[in-house]
Amino acid sequence: MTIKLLDFYNLMDQDDIILSYKGDVSSDLVSSVLQIIESKMDKLEEPSKIRKKVYNVLVETLQNLYHHIAENPGLSSKEEVSSVIFLIGKSEDYYIVSTGNFMENEKVNQLKERINKINDLDTLGLKEYYKKVLNNGIVSDKGGGGLGMIDIARKSGHKLAYNFNKIDDQHTFFSLLVKIGE
């Protein structure tokens, strides 16, 4: 291990990161993270409006990671691409939820198009798009069906920032950054 813990601490401190995690995502992990952040926001006496938006975005982003890995044997069976990373940060004015995961190269374009489509919509457009997808009758195995990213954008109130880093001829690393607050 070459990393110096103090450097790591300072890095987190300077970027206002409350919590960071790298590893596998389980249902229990999602519960624990939600609990930690909820009590943190309680302690900070955040207005309930912000608290609820952050909570909602966290639920959707973490469950996206969970389903993405759990329902993709090509990722979950390979240790080097089954781990995810996420950071939760708080600056003076807003919260940041950022997630990173590996994905298969052939799915990149579809995801990019979906996010771009969402980013092109304003508040009202997002509401209409949400209702359309809600009522389209398509349900994934576990119930989602394409609403997660729209909901994240609605609760965030900001454009979704993202990045795709190609790793090799099979995998790409996808990072998403969601800002919540003014």
Binding site: S48, K49, E60, N135, K142, G144, L147
Partner: protein
Amino acid sequence: MENLKIDGTPKTPTIEFNLEEGKLLIRGRSIPENSIEFYKPLIDKLEEYLGTPQETTLVKIQLEYFNTSSSKCILDVFKKLEKIKSNGSDTIIQWYYEEDDEDMLEAGEDYQAIINIPFKMIEMEEQ
């Protein structure tokens, strides 16, 4: 017909469906990873009820949070209620939201726009 009662957990809501009284309550948080599995007993119970519903069916939805995985299941619940209504039961949905929780009010309005049942939006004081 037996009533349905499911106790709430940190990720799933309390569900109480009293078929003799025609009363359904969903209260708490609905953020399970697998919503279809969680809502199946309720969907089945509604299916059982819709053939011979009570004169009135009162539905109280009092959710603090719900994830998008639950939102399609909640829509399925409402679609069953539409059938119950068209089978002659006077059906009303009371949608509760906490004071200042515009997102939850809006979520109720989104359903209201899709579902052909009268909605009553009820604001609660923050607990």
